[in-house]
């Protein structure tokens, strides 16, 4: 019996009805409800995480900011590879990301982006590698992702890759795959498509809790036309 218990402590083995026991350090996502569902209690290090999302601007990056800020405050470097638009630095500062520990890479082609991600993983400099692999004419081959997974192994690095929703139909070597979609009132719905251990049953609702200025239930009442442009400010 004790031999069996010992065997089950091996990180590559888990029972079908529990979450995999993950020994490697993970980085808390900053959302307790999400952390409870992630093996290791956060974004895994030394392995690929895929986030499948249709389009931009639903809060997919905001979801990562708490973890990225935590790594930043620990003095770790992070590298953003092929972001879809120019990251707006004041927002990053506000979220707690140290600009002095951020590298932004804007390659022209997706093959260069994959190469850059691999270099970043191999260098073991970065605490986080965030990559965008949008839908391209040629889908990202499995072997390319496998290379990244191998490069990430044994490194203390969180690898977060944004991929199009359609990529959910292809198989992937990533140990964690999430699909996210917008929900009402500043919330995100997270479906865990793949994780180590028992499959997730219900989607998770996250309150991004950003934009204190935004109350989504009550849209700003002032229509633009009513702003008196010609009158004195007070």
């Amino acid at each position: 019996m004790s031999a069996l218990a010992k065997l089950l402590e091996h990180p590559a083995l888990w029972r079908g009805n529990t979450l995999a026991p993950v020994r490697t350090a993970s980085v808390a996502s900053g959302f307790p409800r999400l952390d409870r569902e992630l093996p290791g209690g956060g974004w895994p290090t030394g392995a690929l995480t895929e986030i499948l999302v249709a389009g931009h601007g639903i809060g997919e990056v905001s979801m990562l900011l708490p973890a990225l800020a935590r790594l930043s405050s620990a003095g770790r470097w992070q590298i953003w590879i092929a972001p879809p638009h120019a990251p707006y630095a004041p927002t990053l500062v506000q979220a707690g990301i140290a600009l002095a520990r951020l590298i932004v890479v804007t390659p022209e082609h997706q093959c260069d982006a994959l190469w850059a991600i691999e270099q970043a993983l191999r260098s073991s400099v970065c605490g986080a590698v965030v990559g965008w692999l949008p839908a391209a004419r040629r889908a990202v081959p499995y072997a390319a992702l496998r290379r990244l997974q191998v490069a990430a192994e044994d490194n203390d690095v969180v690898v977060l890759l944004f991929r199009p929703a359609a990529a959910g139909r292809e198989s992937s070597p990533a140990v964690l795959r999430l699909s996210i979609e917008p929900a009402a009132a500043g919330h995100l719905t997270v479906h865990i498509l793949k994780r180590r251990g028992l499959p997730a049953e219900a989607p998770i609702h996250l309150n991004l809790n950003r934009h204190h200025a935004v109350d989504r239930r009550h849209p700003a009442k002032t229509p633009a036309r009513s702003i008196p442009t010609g009158e004195p400010i007070n």
Partner: protein
């Protein structure tokens, strides 16, 4: 190999045909009419020796150019640093091989003895002073670089080895062959000190390598480039410096040379890393014409700070260094594609963010509610019923925030910013232009 119409060096085939060094070239042609003759180029030889001297400076600061034909290294002070004589000799041998040369090496307690042993082609290591005379005694007098007159006289009195010469009476020897030769013998045995002028490496690095054949593919140049980079790395260790910038010049026949400039984030002298960066550049290079020679120029040397002053770069240290990652990415993607971010005190959103060198500390500034992605050029939106429209009607969630600034440089803005939500529940940052060109614009996304 010939030197002034006399055979200088002959290979084994030539020796078998009876050709001997020192023989007149015409006599050699009589023995072997089909032989290949190469002219000795003393200038290039001296140049090569000088480059090797600069490279060898990494093993000891005391390097001597001996008669423009060889190098003397005083290594007694470097033994403990390198872990003994054997490691130094191994490093020298592999290093010289990597630079494209072969060396005849010898080691002895006196400079002249070491020089004579090396000239004789016997790879001897003598550590003890006592065994010096005995080892030297076996050397032939013909390999020591003595003049032919002296050699003829010595042979005439029946001496062929150094041991027989040293057995001659001192006074008579000095009278017949001159004081200079006696002094050389005394110096070899360590009876007289032999001070020498040490080589001073130049202030900047410049090296050139002619390729044996024209090269058409850039990737095939890597081998030659690596040779130059190895030389550069050794030179930099000797100078206790690093480089932040160097140029590789690929010389063509009638076109101006192709210049590859490598810029580094910080100055260092890590040869494997240099090679990696150059390889990335070569991989993406198409040559306008075949390359005949390759040159390396490092005009400015930067003293490297204490941390990097390890004699051989430590692998762990290199792998955790973020500057190496940035350099590697830039070598393939270009400098502009890899950057950090900083912010400046400015109200107009599109002017706030600047690309900066990674590691730049931004000033502590605070802004209002801002999107994550910003479009530098705002995208015009349709306006329907006084509301902005993008694939559907946009709901204004927060605002307005008025930004009116920049009248002094002509790019002034007068805008009211709102946070809007589209029908996919994405949050957008939109503004309404208040100046003459009215209308709604999309400037950012809250991702």
């Amino acid at each position: 190999m010939t030197d002034a119409h006399r055979v200088g060096i002959a290979n084994d085939v030539a020796l078998a045909k009876g050709i001997r060094p020192g023989m007149a070239l015409s006599a050699a042609y009589a023995l072997a009419p089909s032989m290949h003759v190469k002219q000795r180029d003393r200038l290039r030889e001296a140049d090569a020796i000088e480059h090797l001297a600069a490279w060898a400076g990494q093993f000891t600061p005391n390097v001597v150019l001996e008669n423009q034909a060889g190098l003397l290294l005083e290594v007694s002070g470097s033994l403990s640093l390198f872990g003994g004589l054997e490691p130094i000799m191994t490093r020298l041998r592999t290093g010289i091989l990597a630079l494209g040369f072969t060396a005849s090496m010898a080691c002895a307690p006196t400079a002249r003895a070491a020089w004579w042993l090396a000239l004789s082609g016997k790879e001897t290591v003598i550590r003890e002073h006592d065994s010096l005379a005995a080892k030297l005694a076996a050397l032939s007098i013909y390999t020591l670089g003595w003049s032919s007159d002296q050699l003829t006289m010595l042979t005439a009195i029946g001496t062929n080895t150094l041991g027989e010469v040293m057995a001659l009476p001192r006074a008579g020897f000095a009278k017949r062959f001159g004081r200079a030769l006696l002094t050389e013998l005394d110096q070899a045995c360590g009876r007289i000190a032999e001070p020498r002028r040490f080589f001073t490496p130049p202030e900047q690095f410049e090296a050139r390598l002619e390729l044996p054949a024209a090269v058409e593919a850039a990737s095939a140049l890597l081998f030659a480039a690596k040779r130059l980079l190895t030389e550069l790395a050794g030179f930099l260790v000797a100078r206790a410096s690093g480089v932040q910038h160097f140029d590789l010049l690929l010389e063509h026949d009638d076109l101006p040379p192709t210049v590859i400039t490598i810029n580094l984030v910080t100055a260092h002298r890590d040869e494997p890393h240099f090679t990696l960066l150059v390889r990335e550049r070569f991989d993406r290079l198409t040559l306008p014409a075949p390359v005949y020679a390759i040159a390396l120029r490092a005009p400015v040397l930067t003293p490297v700070s204490g941390v990097n002053l390890t004699l051989f770069p430590d692998e762990n240290e290199a792998s955790t260094d973020w500057t190496r990652l940035v350099e590697r990415l830039r070598a393939r993607l270009g400098a502009a594609a890899v950057h950090g971010l900083t912010i400046v005190a400015e109200h107009r959103p599109e002017y706030v963010v600047r690309a900066a060198e990674p590691g730049t500390q931004p000033p502590p500034l605070h802004f209002g509610e801002r999107p994550l992605w910003l479009f530098t050029t705002p995208r015009p939106l349709l306006e329907i019923d006084a509301k902005p429209f993008l694939r559907g009607r946009l709901a204004l969630m927060a605002g307005p925030e008025r930004i009116e600034s920049g009248w002094w440089d002509g790019n002034d803005v007068a805008r009211d910013y709102f946070i809007a939500q589209d029908e996919d529940r994405s949050l957008l940052w939109v503004f309404r232009e208040r100046s003459d060109a009215r209308g709604w614009f999309l400037q950012g996304l809250f991702a």
